[in-house]
């Protein structure tokens, strides 16, 4: 029993310390500044961005794609590792689920920021046309939000019951909320069976929905004639890219959570090693699709395509392109091949590089294509030939990123980041197995 109490002690959500408070306040400030910028954009119109008739989509869209990609981590770690019976996932899944929820909610908000007439949002339902990929997005994103929330919520039920008891004296208010959320969980057989079944259904459901989400995101681009987007490779390319972005975010956050919450006993080098191999697999898959996307077209490049590839390889976007490809993708693969590279600290840096690389990667996918239309760009001001985000766009984008981090921070504050009941159960199972081994 003592061990169980210690586990609960270790894993129970704790109050913010001074550093946490400063962190949250700075996030709120960034969000407020972004909100002011957004209100200004609403009043003046999207004039305040640097998007124009040629670069008609900018970082709002690439940021949206980044959020959608990152939200894939829930599907990958929770569902896929669950179905393949990889038990090392236990201390990682809750954080993955939290990232997923935060990212997909922010994806939904970000895409509305790009809409020039958010006041006509309801038209998407009133006049919905099923053949438009945007309508598919309108259907799939809320679906994914609901499934992600359920996948976060169902496994939390026993933990909520534990937290309810835990906070009974210390904070009756909080205890009451936890009690409500636990849906009268007592841990009897019927409840356990029901919970197990529900989680299984959701875990299976999230795989096709997650794949569809990434696919539809890719189809937003590949259903146009544009050079660089008009590619049958795009959906798997986006799926593997989401695999990378999501895992990168997971690795980074796991390291930070482990350090600030002192969970070294629960998230060990072993877990980082496994996660490192998983990330390496993701990066290799993504590299494969990158080769398909950029190298193979070189052989049959039509004129437009070769101009497009030239801008990426040696032209105005070459610096970002090569940084994203070499530092953001190939370097992680090399580091992760070594056992030393899969230790926590190097993994943290790799994760960070992968996340930043993933963000800029989406920029490289969206912008250069738009600046290479079929007809030459003529008769518009010189500044329309290029695109770099305006101050409004940066402030608003930073605010969305800060909002995602705030959602994650609040989740970590109030939810146990490592499943308590599961950890206890697994420990029990291990002890039983040990006893059996001794006896036999």
């Amino acid at each position: 029993m003592k061990i169980h109490d210690k586990i609960i002690d270790d894993l129970v959500p704790k109050k913010f310390n001074k550093k946490d408070v400063i962190w949250v306040i700075s996030l709120v400030v960034i969000i407020l500044v972004g909100l002011i910028a957004y209100i200004d954009q609403l009043i003046k119109g999207q004039e305040v961005t640097n998007m124009r008739d040629y670069a008609l989509w900018g970082i709002y869209i690439s940021n949206f794609v980044f959020f959608v990609a990152t939200s894939f981590v829930g599907t990958v770690t929770v569902a896929v590792l669950r179905l393949t019976n990889n038990s090392w996932r236990t201390p990682l899944v809750r954080i993955a689920e939290i990232i997923s929820v935060a990212a997909i909610i922010m994806a939904g908000i970000t895409i509305m920021i790009d809409m020039a007439r958010p006041d006509r949002l309801l038209n998407l339902f009133i006049h919905a046309r099923l053949q438009s990929p945007i309508t598919w997005d309108v259907i799939i994103i809320p679906t994914y939000i609901v499934i992600s929330l359920l996948l976060l919520y169902f496994p939390l039920l026993p933990d909520f019951a534990i937290l309810k008891n835990r906070f009974e004296k210390k904070s009756p208010k909080l205890s009451k909320i936890y009690g409500k959320l636990s849906l009268n969980w007592t841990g009897n057989k019927a409840q356990k069976l029901l919970q197990k079944r529900s989680i299984r259904i959701i875990a299976i459901m999230i795989i096709p929905v997650g794949l569809l989400l990434q696919t539809i995101d890719a189809w937003l681009f590949s259903t146009t004639y544009r050079i660089g987007w008009d590619s049958t490779n795009f959906a798997p390319y986006f799926i593997s890219g989401a695999f990378v972005a999501g895992l990168g975010a997971l690795v980074t956050l796991i390291y930070i959570v482990r350090k600030t919450k002192k969970l070294e006993n629960y998230i060990t080098d072993y877990h980082f090693d496994k996660l490192g191999k998983f990330l390496a697999l993701a990066c290799l898959t993504y590299l494969y699709f990158n080769i398909n996307e950029y190298l193979i077209p070189l052989f049959t490049a039509k004129k437009g395509e070769s101009i497009h590839l030239e801008t990426l390889f040696t032209g105005s976007y070459s610096v970002i392109f090569w940084l994203v490809t070499v530092v953001g993708l190939i370097l992680p693969i090399i580091v992760l091949l070594f056992k030393k590279g899969r230790k926590p600290l190097p993994m943290f840096y790799i994760g960070l590089i992968v996340v930043i690389g993933s963000w800029w990667k989406r920029f490289v996918i969206v912008t250069p294509t738009l600046l290479h239309p079929f007809l030459p760009i003529q008769g518009v001001p010189e500044s329309w030939h290029h695109y770099f985000p305006s101050m409004h766009e940066w402030l608003i984008t930073f605010a969305t990123l800060a909002m995602a981090l705030l959602i994650i921070t609040l989740c970590i504050r109030f939810l146990p980041v490592i499943p308590i009941q599961r950890t206890i159960d697994e420990l029990k199972q291990q002890n039983i197995d040990k006893d059996k081994n001794i006896k036999s």
Partner: protein
């Protein structure tokens, strides 16, 4: 156990209740519809009958209550649904590149009549040269009014639509400003109102009692929505040609109806099929399968010198600013 069965019965009750109320709602709705239809047919007989002759000459007797005077409308032939378009028409344009010398009168007229205030005109005259060794030429472009319009396919709210008479128009009252149509259009023909358009026409609208319509794009332009060439159905309605056609001093543009197989540039009226055959008409980016409504005649046997147009060529401007 007891609680369980109690629960079950409550569930059953709720389940049944829901189904019954749903069925009642649907039934009631159906009955009221039926009732209204029946009522419309059976007006009370007046007892008096009238003798009428049908179009094929037979006499019939009809109850006089069923005879209603038909309202004669002057615009009887013109009335059509804005989204459906004019019946039995298919508008096309032919652009003769051999005659174009970048005079830009078309662009100016278009900008003026559509009150364009932005920086990107709907009608552009491109300075084209595919390769160093191939000849340069001037190529006016506007909305191609494709029969397989990529923009219409991707629009999530049916704000941009294709009509039976071939026109692709935009409902600026519905557009949500996602710009997907602009990304989809391979001809880069669509322009966006990034800020407040600042048109004078907006001020005058209340005085002239003009209702905004997709048939006269730009009158007025609306912030946060897409605009483009509308093929001037407001002019066609008045029996006039689109503004670019009448403005061109060189007769580059021919406008007409494909079903009538005639197009005109204002000076001469010609058979469309014959013109396309004799001068090897083609369409822009045929390979994409968009099947545009605009045909081009190649710049052969040119009536004008390419260099004459260089004078008016402005790389970075297509809408003249009044200041």
């Amino acid at each position: 156990m007891e609680e369980n069965s109690k629960n079950n019965s409550r569930r059953k009750f709720l389940n049944k209740g829901l189904k019954i109320s749903l069925a009642t709602a649907i039934g009631g709705f159906g009955l009221s519809k039926l009732n209204s239809k029946l009522n419309a047919k059976t007006a009370i007989d007046s007892g008096e009958t009238m003798e009428l002759m049908t179009t094929d000459g037979t006499l019939i007797q009809v109850d006089s209550s069923e005879v209603v005077e038909v309202k004669h409308s002057k615009e009887h032939d013109k009335k059509y649904n804005v989204r459906e378009g004019m019946a039995h028409r298919k508008f096309v344009m032919v652009v003769d590149l051999a005659k174009c010398k970048n005079a830009l009168k078309c662009q100016n007229a278009c900008n003026k009549h559509h009150y364009i205030t932005g920086d990107n005109a709907w009608l552009k005259v491109y300075k084209m040269q595919e390769e160093q060794d191939t000849a340069p030429y001037w190529m006016p472009t506007m909305c191609m009014h494709c029969d397989q319009p990529a923009c219409v396919t991707v629009c999530p709210v049916d704000a941009t639509f294709k009509r039976k008479d071939g026109l692709v128009l935009i409902d600026n009252e519905r557009c949500i400003g996602c710009r997907f149509c602009m990304a989809a259009c391979p001809y880069s023909t669509r322009v966006f109102n990034w800020g407040e358009p600042g048109q004078e026409v907006t001020l005058n609208m209340a005085m002239t009692n003009h209702m905004p319509s997709p048939e006269h794009a730009g009158k007025p332009s609306i912030k946060g929505t897409v605009d483009k060439c509308d093929f001037c159905p407001h002019a066609i309605d008045n029996g006039e040609l689109p503004h670019c056609v009448t403005a061109c001093p060189n007769g580059v543009f021919y406008f007409g109806d494909k079903y009538e197989d005639t197009v005109t540039n204002g000076d001469e009226t010609v058979r469309l099929s014959k013109l396309l055959e004799e001068k090897s008409g083609y369409r822009l980016m045929e390979g994409l399968g968009t099947s545009p409504s605009i045909y081009y005649l190649p710049p052969v046997d040119r009536l004008v010198d390419f260099k004459d147009g260089l004078e008016d060529f402005k790389e970075f401007e297509s809408v003249e600013k009044s200041e």
